[in-house]
């Protein structure tokens, strides 16, 4: 009942919890604008995380093959643009560290295709670590 009109950027809401916010300026909620189409090569196959951070991050080359922006791209974008310290606590072997739960609009990302989930304008993506106190 609705027709999507092609947009050049989309905006998603990103939240961190369970202590992960400490890696991101201790700020839990972020709004992130992303290009609607991104180079294929940057998330499939994953580029390994690097200590150099942004320098080895995502580059938008005009003539590279493109695909709709997905959750994998967001993860690398967060590493390269928002992460303030210790990338290895967020990314491991080309995806989020296994102790981190990723939620797409209040559903476990495994139900949504994990990194291949195509982001839509207005999506809410949450990254949480388990709490364990009591």
């Amino acid at each position: 009942t609705s027709l999507d009109i092609v947009m050049s950027t989309i905006t998603v809401k990103v939240e961190f919890g369970g202590g992960l916010e400490l890696l991101f300026s201790n700020q839990r909620s972020h709004r992130v604008a992303l290009p609607a189409r991104v180079p294929v090569s940057y998330s499939n196959p994953f580029s390994p995380p690097s200590a150099a951070g942004a320098e080895q991050g995502i580059q938008n080359s005009e003539d590279a093959p493109k695909k709709p922006v997905d959750l994998s791209y967001l993860i690398f974008w967060l590493r390269d643009n928002l992460l303030k310290e210790r990338a290895e606590l967020f990314i491991e072997n080309g995806t989020v560290r296994p102790g981190i739960l990723v939620l797409v609009n209040d559903a476990d990302w495994e139900l949504e295709g994990e990194g291949e989930y195509q982001l839509k304008d207005g999506d809410e993506i949450v990254f949480i670590s388990t709490l364990h106190g009591g």
Binding site: G19, L111, H132, G133
Partner: protein, 269 residues
Amino acid sequence: MASSSVEPSPSLPLEDYRRYGRQMILDGFGLEGTLGVIDHDTVQISNLQRQVLHTEDRVGMAKVLSAAEAIRQMNSRITVNPITAALTSANAVELLAPYDLILDCTDNLPTRYLLSDTAVELGKPLVSGAAQQFDGQLCVYNLPLKSDGQDSQERGPCFRCLFPKPPAPEMAGSCEELGVLGAVTGVIGNLQALEAIKLLAGLHDGKPSLLMFSALGAPPFRSVKLRSRRPACPACGVEGEKVGRIEETDYVAFCGGERPDWVARGLGV
């Protein structure tokens, strides 16, 4: 307390509950059984701010005896089995086997993994609550699933399915280290009790979900739909597809090595 469990003998016709729910007075709603409480520790003054079963007079007493006394004062007909022991991989199966479900009220990660693995081994649901600072999380692991309201043989994910690796030790901390607002613990503890009651009374919807609470958030609660269990999970996965074996796990080492606070809490596994 480290963990506690409830064993009901469903002597009341619980299946009549939904039918008579409108008429019945809920405080006639009852379960018989034994409540086990396991903890090796004694009451500290710093516990009283959130562990509301204890009192100043009982500082120094074994926590499980203080808790049993508090429950006796409120309802002397409840049978409590206080177990003054540290839960370890050597005794967990034996201590938890007599109960129908397990409540995880611990404050450390190694015990959380141990309780989850034991719940899977015993085929019992694990009602898990956690609280830190202003935040809380609630989840039933190894949940007996229902589809279209009917019981199935399937189980929901275990703690290890969702969190195959513990967070980095740098980011972990107990309530004693990070602090927690007592009322956050109270909210999560009461929600755990409700999940336990729903499971025992057959009122649970059998759909795995995680409830996240943040006292300063707007909205303060977020409910998350969870995945199925992970076939590769070393604890609850499918035989032949498991990656890793939990029998080899040293719970303390797995969670980042011997930290003095965990050892002091009796987890020198």
